[in-house]
Assembly symmetry: C2
Homo-oligomer: 266 residues x 2
């Protein structure tokens, strides 16, 4: 298979999705686009996010991708239909797979979604879970991304912030929610901290993981994830290549070699 898959995010967070895709579909060739000059999308309006996302999608389409994964919850939440309309290839988002898994995993029918302000404000997860008699609590956690990008994924301050955000939500140990959806592709990096803050019986749904699984299934690939001994990958960033390399390493656990600076105009 010579499939060319495009992965798009506002920054480096989508590398968690890329990583999960590489474990399941290692034979594909990947193009990753990080719109680092205009990140973060999390606090921007739907109109602005759609405009930026479409530019990125068209950039990747012009480079021959056959499938686009929008590895950004904000862009998926605010702009997936607009992106689908603007390109000719299939487009997968990260909201639907995470929501599907959450629905399957909750026995108490109570799910918590944490994400950026814009994703929460869009109620994308609430809509994806609608009509299933599931109680959805949406909680914006805008400090997690900067904490992760500061390299504080395991810092005590990050744990304090997680307590400040989540203690109220999970106060009812016996009858509270039993699923926590990571509605931002940065959050897998603080899974350890979150694990230590929420009750032990809560399942943490990593949407990066479930998106990769969903893409593989749609491509007819039935295979368990395995380590990737170096997938074929080209990265594009709209701002500092060094910063992209440095931060990206936090996400994929290995140096990123092939990173090109791109100017989307403006």
């Amino acid at each position: 298979m010579n499939l060319k898959i495009g992965v798009f995010d506002s920054g480096v967070g989508g590398l968690t999705v890329l990583h999960a895709l590489g474990e399941r579909i290692p034979e594909a060739e990947y193009l990753y686009f990080g719109d680092t000059a205009r990140l973060p999308y999390g606090a921007k309006s739907a109109r602005t996010v759609a405009k930026f996302a479409i530019e990125a999608a068209q950039f990747l389409q012009a480079r021959g991708i056959e499938l686009l994964v929008v590895a950004c919850n904000t862009a998926t939440a605010l702009a997936l239909p607009a992106i689908r309309e603007a390109v000719r290839i299939p487009v997968e988002g990260v909201v639907e797979p995470g929501a599907e898994r959450a629905a399957a995993a909750t026995t108490r029918k109570k799910v918590v979604v944490i994400a950026t302000e814009a994703t929460i404000g869009s109620h994308a997860y609430m809509q994806a879970l609608a009509g299933r008699e599931i109680q959805v609590c949406e909680k914006a956690c805008p400090l997690f991304v900067p904490l992760i990008e500061e390299g504080w994924a395991e810092h005590p301050v990050t744990k304090s912030v997680a307590h400040a955000y989540l203690d109220d939500v999970f106060y009812d140990y016996e009858n509270g929610p039993d699923v926590l959806v990571l509605g931002c592709t940065h959050y897998p990096l603080i899974k350890g901290v979150l694990r230590s803050v929420v009750p032990w019986r809560v399942e943490i749904v990593d949407s990066a993981e479930w998106t990769a699984q969903s893409v593989a299934r749609k491509l007819g690939i039935q295979r368990t994830a395995r380590a990737t001994p170096g997938m074929e990958l080209a990265c594009f960033a709209t701002d500092s290549v060094e910063r992209f390399r440095r931060l990206g390493q936090l996400f994929v656990g290995q140096p990123l070699e092939n990173v090109t600076l791109v100017d989307l105009g403006g």
Copy 2:
């Protein structure tokens, strides 16, 4: 006097400078431009910041301002010469006035500057203080802006973060630095927390305040600051007007009425 002053920042932080200007030069008419669609500038490259800043400066020039205040440390640090070259009006930055005050205030000849990653990486304050036999310690504090924008200016977590950033820098109570420069226009909002974290004899230099004073002096206005009973102000933002209003209020302490959405193209 019918002076029209333009104030430019990547977001709402520059409103601290606008506020200080309004107290000193209340008779002027102000145009404030917040490039909120593309903020924050703090983690972006010099090339990208210069491009964005020049677009904003030209936007304000086209609206008839006679003086531009770059109320953004990152843009001043990375792009002041480029902005000056791109417009025909006088341009004032926020670095020089803060540095001047720091030099005058330090008796131990040891100054600490806190700011965003990009401002620190540019060494703009170090350069502005060069040749005066002052020891300058520059410390990037990338979490302060998101904490302030989360409305946590007085939250215990913000104090923990301030300790994590600053305890090492001020460990030497007897002979350590005696000046702390707030090298980011957001930081005046956490002056209280910073005051409680650094030794009491450290002077905290608010560059917003000193920039306003410097502009007033250059205009020949000799007057102490006073409350502004409603200055003439029009705001422009490149993203969500509501968010600009909501956040802006944190900075000026009153609702912002006249805010217009602007598309700088792209």
